[in-house]
């Protein structure tokens, strides 16, 4: 067993699960979407991206691309959320909905990542 592969798979799957934890709940209900979950989803996604850098195979390139998409979605979500908070008013349902839907987009990218990872792993002949 390769330790590096374990960490690699761990972070890719964790990025998806974290993303999902934030995503579930009513889309416009701020009580269902905690900022800590969002924070962890973003950090794990960034780490997963860095881990994917350097693998220049076809699948590697695709993995990196999906990860960059997820990062982009989450960072836009963070900016939207941050700007809403700065106004000083409690977060509105509309803002929450757009942050969650952005995270939903990131989740699709993460799902593709995991599917690619599975496909690549299953290809390896024992």
């Amino acid at each position: 067993m390769n330790t590096q592969r374990v960490w690699f798979a761990f972070f890719i799957v964790l990025a998806l699960t974290m993303n999902f934890s934030f995503f579930v709940g009513d889309i416009d209900n701020p009580d269902h979407h905690h900022p800590y979950e969002f924070f962890f989803a973003l950090v794990v996604s960034l780490i997963a991206t860095v881990l994917k850098v350097g693998d220049r195979s076809h699948v590697g390139a695709l993995l990196l691309a999906t990860s960059l998409v997820a990062d982009l979605q989450l960072i836009i979500g963070a900016v939207v959320w941050g700007m809403a908070v700065q106004s000083g008013e409690p977060i509105s349902g509309a803002v929450m909905a757009s942050v969650v839907s952005l995270a939903g987009g990131a989740m699709i990218a993460n799902i593709i990542s995991v599917v690619l990872l599975l496909a690549e792993t299953l290809q390896i002949k024992r």
Binding site: V50, V53, G54
Partner: protein
């Protein structure tokens, strides 16, 4: 370093290597930031009025960002509590260290010599891939390689160079050419390097292999033959065994420098005019006939114990030139008059009867010895023909000022031979004919040109005319309309009165492949003939004008039939 492999294992943009090296520093940076932000968000603070509050993620990220980069705006939005300050201490040290670590890693990669070499290499590969004009690949940028590249540049041909030595590579990058030379700092024996240098490129015209090692030359030649069979290979060889080896797989041109130099010495002694003509034609830097007076009587003294001196002796024996060999080693044949000794001392030269000698050939492998031999010889006898072998290009100044009759410069000879073959096959065919021509014929030919030359210091040049639509439309249309065109018609000025130009035709290759050296002026020309012309510099422009314009050429033909 060492995590990435040097070219050619890693292909593609070197940026990927930077990213690979930065993986750990980036993860460390992300984790430090994440933990720091989280800490600030979790630890409760106090507003000015004493209420408990928590920093938002946005505020936390802001504080961490300016702290980590050591900018430090202070405690925002409210003065921190003791607990927050304790956490900030941890943050300050850990984030600053993480930054230094990441920056250090970036700088290490960027300043790594191997990485920079790789990046430069990759840039050159990309440039060669999109090379816009035909080019030659020159392997080995020593004195021969650099001169060949310069000669080719003068005749408008571009090159790509491969050199494994750093100092020569730097020299190649500083070369003063009319275009930017693409140079690879790599070993040409590596097949991938040859591919990168463009041997498989559709615009690659040929490969010239000029390295100092026979093994390397042979390896490059075989590799090119396999990688790009259509590309001609011009290789240097330093031994007969290697020459046979190169010939066995049809290497197009093989130049054995020692043999070229020995033949050239023989030619100088027996046929000085042919020697002068040969060198005027092959050396783009030499633009006049410099015939040397060679004494009719007297023997020659050959100093040296290397392959060159042996080959010179071989030529002398074959052509029955009297000579004495001064060498520490006994000659293989007893027929050779031999004096044992280094030749640098007056005693050995006296033993070789220097007072009766016509000339001395200093052909040892050491420049110091060669200079010493010739200076001693000149002190013993004057006048004397002195032939010096220059081994190292750095010794050039002393040989230039030494006042020797002939200096054999290896790099230059090699560059000349290669250039003559690359520049025009016609010239090369003529040169092999020249070997067989009697001296009187060559002398007459030089006289003929000099009678046509204007007064003063005129530089000479040669060029090729091919009687086809592209090069000579006026001649082709005259031939097609059934007019007779003589060679003499191409040697006249297109201007008023059609005076003869300072130009002669050295060699004619008929459309059917027949070779005519020194054709007469009344010879009829036909479509597809190729002519090697030789004359004053700048005449080719007049001729080009004449050959391109029907009216000028017709008036010239009319002028001939009147007179």
């Amino acid at each position: 370093m060492g995590r990435y492999r040097a070219r050619p294992k890693v292909r593609g943009a070197p940026m990927w290597i930077v990213l690979l090296e930065l993986r750990t520093p980036l993860i460390v940076l992300i984790l430090t930031y994440a933990v720091s932000c989280l800490g600030l968000v979790l630890i409760p603070g106090q507003t000015d009025t004493g209420e408990v509050y928590h920093l938002s993620f946005f505020d936390a990220f802001y504080v961490i960002s300016y702290t980590a980069t050591t900018i430090g705006y202070g405690e925002l939005p409210y003065a921190f509590t003791g607990a927050q300050r304790m956490w900030m201490l941890v943050v300050i040290y850990s984030t600053v260290i993480a930054w230094l670590y990441a920056l250090g890693a970036v700088l290490t990669v960027l300043t790594d010599p191997e990485f920079r070499k790789l990046r430069r290499y990759q840039k050159t590969v990309n440039r060669v891939k999109t090379h816009p004009v035909p080019f030659w690949v020159v392997c080995g940028y020593g004195s021969a390689g650099s001169q060949l590249v310069r000669f080719l540049d003068q005749s408008g041909t571009r090159c790509v160079a491969v050199e494994s030595e750093k100092s020569r590579f730097d020299q190649a990058r500083l070369s003063n050419l009319s275009y930017e030379l693409d140079v690879f700092w790599a070993d040409a024996m590596d097949p991938q390097v040859l591919v990168d240098a463009g041997v498989q490129h559709p615009r690659c015209q040929g490969v010239v292999v000029l390295t100092d090692s026979d093994q390397a030359n042979l390896t490059v030649a075989t590799n090119v033959k396999i990688l790009a069979p259509r590309v001609p290979v011009f290789a240097r060889s330093k031994s007969d065994a290697n020459t046979r080896n190169l010939r066995s797989f049809d290497t197009e041109v093989i130049i054995d420098l020692d043999r070229v130099a020995a033949r050239s010495v023989g030619q100088l002694i027996q046929r000085p005019k042919a020697y002068a003509l040969y060198h005027e034609l092959v050396d783009p830097d030499l633009n006049r006939i410099e015939a040397m007076p060679i004494p009719e009587t007297g023997h020659w003294i050959v100093c040296g114990s290397n392959r060159l001196s042996e080959l010179v002796c071989e030529v002398f024996v074959r052509d029955a030139i009297p000579f004495v060999w001064v060498s520490p080693n006994r000659p293989s044949s007893d027929d050779i008059e031999w004096v044992e000794g280094p030749g640098t001392e007056a005693v050995t030269l006296k033993q070789a009867r220097i007072d009766e000698a016509a000339g001395v050939i200093a052909a040892t492998d050491s420049d110091g010895d060669n200079l010493s031999i010739l200076l001693t010889a000149k002190a013993e006898k004057s006048p004397l023909v002195t032939v010096a072998r220059r081994n190292r290009p750095t010794s050039e100044p002393v040989f230039q000022h030494g006042g020797f009759s002939v200096v054999l410069r290896e790099g230059r000879l090699l560059a000349q031979e290669m250039f003559a073959r690359i520049q025009s096959p016609l010239l090369h065919q003529f040169l092999s004919q020249l070997e067989l021509m009697p001296e009187a014929l060559v002398d007459g030919l030089i006289d003929k040109l000099y009678r046509r030359l204007p007064e003063g210091d005129v530089e000479l040049d040669h060029f090729v005319i091919s009687l086809r639509e592209a090069d000579a439309p006026a001649v082709v249309s005259a031939l097609e309309s059934g007019q007779r065109v003589e060679l003499g018609d191409l040697l006249r000025d297109p201007g008023e009165g059609h005076p003869p130009l300072a130009l002669i035709c050295l060699f004619l290759v008929r459309f059917n492949g027949d070779l005519v050296p020194f054709p007469g002026e009344h010879l009829d020309l036909g479509y597809g003939d190729q002519l090697l012309m030789w004359g004053a510099e700048g005449v080719d422009a007049r001729i080009e004008w004449l050959l391109g314009r029907d009216d000028l050429f017709q008036s010239l033909l009319a002028h001939r039939s009147i007179s």
